[in-house]
């Protein structure tokens, strides 16, 4: 009986100590030539046509891994997603949505225009979703996509 209580206490203790501390930050960046080199810096001088990179960084400062991380980023208002620009630092699955609700691979996204069904253009994507299977303790990862200001 005492032994059982001891295991229970240890288990509760471990659960409270061994947890995942997850945070996510987002940055909007633009390319700038600095000392003859192109670098991505905080977006400040932005006019229609400027390409912006949205960089989302996920950090796990806890002691336990996080799983099934789903990062959803609606394409900001006034921005148009740039085809093929969504990436992630490690392994991930990327899908897109035309309505912010249903996410699919690009070849499965269609729109109906003047009664005819056609493949959706990247500029019509309304949201991007990344799925990362696992982010270990004390690990960090990032996902990104580029968009152009309308």
């Amino acid at each position: 009986m005492r032994k059982g209580l001891l295991y229970l206490c240890l288990s509760v203790l471990l659960t409270s100590v061994m947890h995942a501390e997850i945070s996510i930050t987002s940055e909007s960046l633009q390319e700038k030539r600095i000392n003859k080199q192109l670098k991505w810096v905080k977006a400040t001088k932005v006019i229609p046509g400027t390409k912006i990179r949205y960089l989302n960084t996920v950090s796990n400062t806890g002691e336990q891994a996080a799983e099934d991380l789903v990062i959803t980023n609606p394409v900001p208002k006034h921005m148009q997603y740039l085809e093929g620009s969504a990436k992630c630092a490690g392994a991930c699955t990327i899908t897109y949505s035309l309505d912010g609700k249903v996410f699919k691979a690009p070849d499965k996204l269609f729109v109906t225009e003047m009664g005819k069904k056609r493949k959706a253009r990247a500029s019509e994507y309304k949201a991007v979703k990344w799925v990362i299977e696992r982010l270990g303790a004390k690990q960090r990862s990032s996902v990104q996509f580029d968009a152009v200001l309308e």
Binding site: S23, K45, V46, I47, V58, T72, L149
Partner: protein
């Protein structure tokens, strides 16, 4: 100051200056198979869209405007459009191009008189008001512009007078605006000069807050040249067989007027004061005198039929009145005189 509204729509030229663009991302995850509360991240208010100053000027005439030497208020037509993402003030300036500058494949050879009179229309050309300084154009709006010039009387047929209309982006007081220099601040709307340069000469460059277009005028007038010749038609000895210029002989004058210009010449009067030893016309037994204007090159001994224009004489002065000498046409005035 009237703000001109265009039909282009608010976003025709891109996202409006001053718009805040923010990003928000959501993360869901599990730990140990248990779903955790979603986390939302953002990019700290994102960025503020800067003022992209962009605009175009175009000449609408498609070719030089044909003008007559000495004519006034000859109009060229232009369009100024604000293609930037904010309302913008503009000033206008028209000027002669330097010699040799080519517009619509015609090189500049002459200048119009200056200054020009500039008017512009905010209602698609129904009414035009005088341009008197900086005016504001809404995003996507455009104005039709007329530049009127006087044409010097000294220019000749084919002279090309090319001109430039330049628009400058200004503040409300008409002072040219400049791009924001130095580091940008995401919390302020900076000015970015983004206009192109339609023409590369005359100091026109892109991103300087000015945009120019070229148009012009081409002079179209008559170009007349007169030449005078003569032949002997009859003399009292040999009559019509190899006649000589002896007293009593009939001499025929043929005055050829050629119009090599591009316009018809009207009411062309050619006068000829006869030598004191000549008498206008003929007397019997000499042949009946010829006095006619013919639409042909001169053929002294074989004049064609009259075209109806008149020749008259008064006090020894002969006047040939060419009603119209058509462009690229030659006419001839014939009249006979008798050697005293």
């Amino acid at each position: 100051m009237l703000m001109l509204l265009g039909a282009g729509g608010l976003y025709a030229a891109g996202t409006a200056a001053g718009t805040q663009v923010t990003n928000e991302v959501t993360l869901s995850y599990t730990v140990g198979g248990i779903s955790q509360t979603d986390i939302v991240g953002n990019d700290d208010d994102g960025f503020l869209v800067d003022n992209k100053v962009d605009f175009t000027v175009a000449n609408n005439d498609g070719d030089q405007i044909a003008v007559t030497p000495g004519s006034t208020d000859q109009v060229t037509n232009w369009t100024l459009e604000n293609t930037g993402n904010d309302a913008q003030y503009f000033t206008l300036a028209a000027s002669n191009l330097t010699g040799g500058e080519t517009v619509y494949s015609d090189a500049d050879t002459a200048d119009t008189s200056t200054p020009y009179t500039i008017t512009y229309s905010t209602d698609g050309g129904s009414t035009y008001g005088a341009y008197s300084g900086a005016f504001e154009l809404a995003v996507g709006a455009s104005v039709l512009i007329k530049v009127a010039a006087d044409i010097p009387g000294s220019i000749t047929d084919g002279d090309v007078m090319n001109i430039q209309l330049e628009a400058t982006a200004t503040d409300s007081g008409g002072t040219a605006i400049t791009a924001t220099i130095g580091a940008d601040n995401e919390d302020s709307v900076d000015i970015v000069l983004a206009e192109g340069a339609e023409v590369s000469a005359e100091g026109n460059t892109e991103f300087d807050g000015q945009f120019s277009a070229w148009g012009g005028y081409i002079a179209q007038s008559a170009a007349l040249a007169a030449t005078k010749g003569s032949c002997v038609i009859w003399d009292p000895v040999k009559e019509s067989s190899n006649p000589k210029r002896i007293p009593g002989a009939v001499v025929r004058y043929a005055i050829q007027v050629a119009n090599t210009g591009s316009q018809d010449a009207t009411d062309v009067n050619v006068t000829d004061v006869l030598n004191a030893n000549l008498t206008y016309g003929t007397t019997t037994p000499a042949p009946t005198a010829v006095a006619r204007i013919v639409t042909e090159s001169c053929d002294c001994t074989n004049p064609g039929a009259t075209n109806g224009d008149s020749i008259s004489e008064s006090s020894g002065t002969v006047t040939a009145a060419f009603a119209t000498v058509t462009a690229s046409t030659t006419e001839c005035a014939y009249f006979d005189v008798t050697i005293n």
